[in-house]
């Protein structure tokens, strides 16, 4: 990591958000127009920000910043290429779920501070959802870290030089994907911000600059979870012929497209059914995944 790494991550977030927005348009079946969409988003900034008339309005105004901060911190942990490993920490695989854990208070603050019934319901739905889905994320992160014997994301990428973790631990991947989609507020897990059901839910009342921040943070969040999925399960920058950063970009785009496509094809479930899935399937499954990962590590990796 050099002194310029933080700036590179910010630049990546800005460019990546536009790319993710274009991908969304493409998956929805339209021709993406990144320039037009960016111009439109910037025009939206001229709208004044809205002030809810509740005592906890300050929570409402803090939430978009916290959401963006959490998304950027998660993005900073993703190793993109041997020469650009993000903030390459020894504990990166734990700091990634730690950063994602701050999405929950941000969404709750947005909903609670919004002060009208639908946003409040959205905020509480997200807390309930993340109580179930935050655990599989951290537990699967330990499962994929076990073979590498290290919580450093770039070490986890390097251990997959021969066999990608998606083949070695397909069960972990099956638990990881829904959980990160839930934390990234993606359909069909978007019960907190359901556009048709809660009319925008927790983020309903944002306008102008704050609405733009929320939109930006959601794209950065998707970029971060897609990038980390590529690094943890699809062997990151390893691959034949193409340069390493390009492999990582292709894999990240593929994961992001898969998540967005799944959101368009699958129906949104009720919150209590999603919770049943989380508590009765994903959490016990994640414990089994850790045991399996430990056995695999002892048998094949050491």
């Amino acid at each position: 990591m050099s002194d310029l790494t933080p700036f590179a991550i910010l630049a990546l977030a800005a460019v990546g958000a536009v790319a993710v927005a274009s991908l969304e348009t493409l998956v929805a079946g339209f021709r993406p127009a990144p320039l037009g969409a960016t111009r439109q988003a910037l025009a939206g900034l001229r709208q004044p920000i809205s002030h809810p008339t509740t005592y906890d309005g300050w929570l409402f105004h803090l939430a978009p910043g916290l959401l963006l901060l959490a998304a950027l911190a998660a993005l900073a942990m993703v190793p993109w290429a041997p020469g650009f490993r993000g903030i390459d920490l020894e504990t990166g695989a734990i700091l990634f779920p730690a950063a994602l854990a701050y999405v929950t208070p941000a969404v709750f603050m947005a909903g609670w501070g919004g002060g009208s019934p639908l946003p409040v319901i959205g905020g509480f739905r997200f807390i309930a959802l993340m109580l179930g889905y935050a655990m599989p994320i951290a537990m699967v992160a330990t499962a994929v870290a076990a073979p590498a014997g290290s919580l450093r994301p770039s070490d986890i990428v390097d251990i997959q030089a021969t066999v990608p973790m998606a083949l070695a631990q397909p069960f972990s991947l099956a638990l990881w994907l829904p959980a990160v989609m839930a934390v990234a507020l993606l359909a069909p897990f978007d019960v907190a911000t359901a556009p048709h059901e809660l009319g925008g839910g927790a983020f309903e009342r944002y306008t102008g600059l704050e609405a733009a921040l929320v939109a930006l943070a959601r794209r950065v969040l998707l970029l971060a979870v897609a990038g980390m999925t590529a690094a943890f399960f699809l062997s990151g920058w390893h691959g034949p012929l193409l340069p390493d950063w390009l492999w990582m970009a292709v894999k990240t785009a593929a994961v992001a497209a898969l998540m967005l496509y799944a959101g368009r094809r699958l129906p949104r479930l009720e919150t209590d059914r999603l919770l049943t899935l989380a508590w009765k399937v994903a959490v016990p499954g994640a414990i089994a995944a850790i045991v399996l990962a430990g056995a695999e590590t002892l048998l094949f990796y050491s």
């Binding site: 005592y55 906890d56 929570l59 920490l89 020894e90 504990t91 734990i94 700091l95 779920p97 730690a98 854990a101 701050y102 929950t104 208070p105 709750f108 603050m109 609670w112 509480f124 807390i127 309930a128 993340m130 109580l131 935050a134 951290a138």
Partner: protein, 180 residues
């Protein structure tokens, strides 16, 4: 980090942590109290990071976010005045508890300042470090696991006891009544 950089992070973050922790007891809203407590504990996680205790800091950030959000969730669900709009006082036996808190705080501060802390850094493969690892993951793990289970059962049992009467002490609505 250099000593100057550590000090530049440590003192402002520490001061902010104390302010947010104090405001937990000033506000009467459950949502605000929980979120302020989260802020205080997250700032404490940053203090650990600033003091180069990376794993503890990261773990603190991870665990406290989840735990404090759970606390907000349950406090808003079960407290009679979740929004702090009815002037409910969260603090009981004010004078004695404030006195006890000040005395204990001063004692701890004196202990922290006067103790002769070891200054040498051990390499990660030192025998002491290994011994601590085996102690924590061996014999003590058994009691940790039981403590964790006991806490979980307490939470679940507490909710089951609390839910029957509802938040305002009235019976469950007809549709929700269960044969017991």
């Amino acid at each position: 980090m250099s000593d100057l950089a550590t000090a530049l992070v440590f003192w402002p973050v520490g001061a902010l942590m104390l302010v947010t922790a104090l405001y937990v007891f000033v506000t009467s809203s459950m949502a605000r109290a929980g979120l302020l407590l989260l802020a205080a504990l997250a700032l404490e996680g940053l203090l650990f990071l600033a003091l180069a205790s990376e794993f503890l800091g990261v773990l603190m950030l991870l665990m406290m976010s989840a735990e404090m959000v759970i606390m907000v969730f349950f406090m808003v669900m079960f407290m009679p005045d979740p929004g702090g709009l009815m002037g409910m006082d969260m603090v009981h036996d004010k004078r004695r508890s404030a006195g006890a808190a000040v005395v204990v705080g001063l004692l701890l501060a004196v202990v922290a300042v006067l103790t002769d802390w070891p200054a040498q850094m051990l390499p990660p493969d030192a025998p002491d470090v290994r011994a601590i690892g085996f102690e924590v993951m061996g014999r003590s793990m058994f009691s940790f696991l039981f403590a964790g289970m006991a806490i979980l059962f307490t939470i679940v049992g507490g909710i089951m006891v609390a839910k029957q009467g509802g938040r305002y002490g009235v019976g469950a609505p007809a549709g929700e009544a269960r044969e017991g």
